[in-house]
């Protein structure tokens, strides 16, 4: 606004001549303007009001995005959640997922580590850990195949038909912790080649029917995985952890190991994989987390 005043000195303001700076990095003397006091007060009032209104708008707009739990603790009883607020915050989540997808490259390998860099990995089952009884009757069911059939594979078949790959990679949890562990198993890509999905498939729904909630009741776990990530050479269907067959804690007999995704996509005790053309539902996306989860 002061620039406008400069160009039009008749409105009681005029620039004061000043010297050009001598050196590029040297501080320049400030631009000085002569102004009528009345005009000065008027501009001050206008800009202060404008900034005040902006501050108020930012406070109300930003504040309304706070979670309901935060409002409750501040003593606000009214329900401040609205479809618009949900939509807006989910848009931010979608943008971040799109950025993650754009950053992904099928040719980029994640860093690998040496055995001396292995760190402990806790049992991070969200609910209760299932009883090992399920293992004897365990099968992996594949659906959405090019053949149109639904097939069941046992662990012996999976372990002998496909070549074994080993890797020591970092598993990163959405909570922020991480663990370096030594995994072995077959490549998801090899399974996709062995049992090709239908041609229009872009997604895999990976599920575990043995998952339990915190009180021990069945709580099937389901997760969406884009096939581009499933084909990554470091995406394994792991059968071994730190040189030993998987224990129940870590998803015996077969778990997904997808180091380019957050830990919550690394489904334990997989019981079914279904190939789909459209993005399937995701257990944690339904609970407010992002869907793509690429890291």
């Amino acid at each position: 606004m002061i620039n406008r005043e400069n160009r039009n000195p008749s409105v009681a303001a005029k620039p004061v001549a000043m010297k050009k700076p001598e050196r590029f990095f040297a501080e320049q003397p400030p631009e000085k303007i002569e102004m009528a006091p009345g005009r000065l007060h008027q501009l001050t009032r206008r800009d202060a009001l404008l900034f005040g209104a902006g501050a108020l708008a930012a406070m109300v707009g930003g504040g309304s995005l706070l979670p309901q739990e935060t409002f409750s603790r501040l003593g606000v009883r009214r329900n401040m959640d609205s479809p618009g607020k949900e939509w807006f915050l989910n848009q931010a989540l979608r943008i971040d997922d799109d950025v993650a997808e754009a950053l992904y490259s099928g040719n980029r390998r994640v860093p690998t580590y040496t055995k001396s860099q292995i760190t402990p990995l806790k049992n991070n089952y969200n609910g209760a850990t299932p009883d090992s009884g399920y293992i004897s009757a365990w099968n992996l069911t594949l659906g959405g195949l090019a053949s149109g059939l639904s097939i069941s594979l046992d662990i012996r078949h999976l372990a002998t038909r496909f070549s074994v790959h080993e890797q020591i990679t970092r598993l990163v949890c959405v909570e922020g912790w991480s663990a370096v562990a030594w995994w072995a198993g077959l490549r998801f890509d090899d399974l996709l080649r062995g049992y090709p999905p239908m041609s229009q498939a872009k997604w895999a729904r990976v599920e575990s029917s043995v998952n339990l909630d915190a009180s021990g009741n069945p709580d099937p776990y389901f997760m969406s995985l884009d096939l581009a990530t499933a084909r990554h050479p470091q995406t394994l269907l792991a059968t071994h952890f730190n040189g030993q067959p998987l224990t129940v804690d870590h998803g015996a007999p077969l778990r997904l190991l997808v180091p380019v995704k957050l830990g919550l996509k690394n489904v334990k005790a997989i019981t079914g994989i279904t190939y789909l053309a459209d993005e399937p539902k995701d257990y944690w996306a339904e609970r407010g987390y992002s869907r793509y989860d690429g890291i």
Partner: protein, 269 residues
């Protein structure tokens, strides 16, 4: 009685100096809600997996140092002895709250993108307004900053004892201590953004956490950078209010009525 049609022989003008480009002013104020959102949601995210942990306490099972601080405060501060959940005291008051990771992450990403865009707006304002020159460190800054520090520390004592306490002389827009602060905070902003991306995309951008010493170290960097803003904010607010309306106005409307550095010093005294 002067004739209303005659022109006045001398019109009383005031001289004002341009201080801040309007992009610098807007980005400065937008930092308030954005940084507040980042800090509150950030501490909620920290709750899910604290960087500073110890072996679980045998009786309470608590392993979080921030929870320990809450428990200690509740045990020692009168009026807080009855607080229902001492281990959540810190999170209940300095974050969005415990147990809301998904909500906190959503807000943190939103604010993080806005913070980066706002940072670019600030840089654009510095370039367009030429203000970046005033932020560059100088060779004499270490000594001058010490002089300023001595001045600020001694100032309240000198006021109380009504002694003369001379402001160090300088002929730049900012004194050395201000320059150090106003230069470091944008650098901290850049580091917060880069360590944030290092934690956010440790696989696709694996060279980024490597710069900061690995994924876990990048989390520690990101955590401590938060304290830079808090450390900056305390004297920043105190000095703006001590300095008065002209300084505050210069960040709202862009100009100051103190046109020479000597006037700034005279006012400070």
């Amino acid at each position: 009685m002067p004739n209303s049609t005659s022109t006045l022989p001398h019109q009383p003008y005031v001289l004002v100096a341009k201080r801040h480009h309007f992009l610098v002013r807007w980005s400065h104020w937008l930092n308030v809600p954005i940084l507040l959102g980042l800090i509150l949601s950030g501490i909620s995210i920290y709750w899910a997996s604290p960087v500073y942990q110890h072996k679980p306490d045998p009786t309470t099972g608590n392993f979080d140092v921030a929870a320990d601080i809450g428990i200690w405060i509740c045990a020692h501060v009168p009026g807080l002895h009855q607080y229902s959940n001492p281990s959540d005291l810190i999170y209940n008051h300095l974050s969005l709250g415990p147990g809301m990771l998904a909500l906190a992450l959503r807000l943190h990403w939103l604010c993080a993108y806005l913070f980066v865009l706002n940072g670019l707006m600030y840089v654009a304002g510095l370039v367009l307004g030429g203000g970046w020159r005033s932020l560059l460190p100088r060779r004499t800054d270490v000594l001058d900053a010490l002089k300023m520090f001595r001045y600020y520390i001694g100032f309240p004592f000198a006021k109380l004892t009504r002694r003369k306490w001379l402001h160090p002389r300088f002929n730049t827009k900012y004194n050395a201590l201000q320059r150090a602060a106003y230069f470091s905070v944008p650098v901290a902003g850049c580091l917060s953004a880069t360590t944030g991306w290092a934690i956010h995309k440790p696989m696709q951008l694996h060279w980024l956490p490597a710069i900061f010493g690995g994924y876990n170290a990048a989390r520690v960097w990101h955590f401590w950078l938060l304290w830079i803003y808090i450390l900056f904010l305390v004297p920043h607010l105190a000095l703006v209010f001590a300095d008065g309306w002209d300084t505050l106005r210069s960040m709202i409307v862009g100009w100051s009525t103190r046109v020479e550095p000597s006037q700034v010093i005279a006012h400070d005294q």
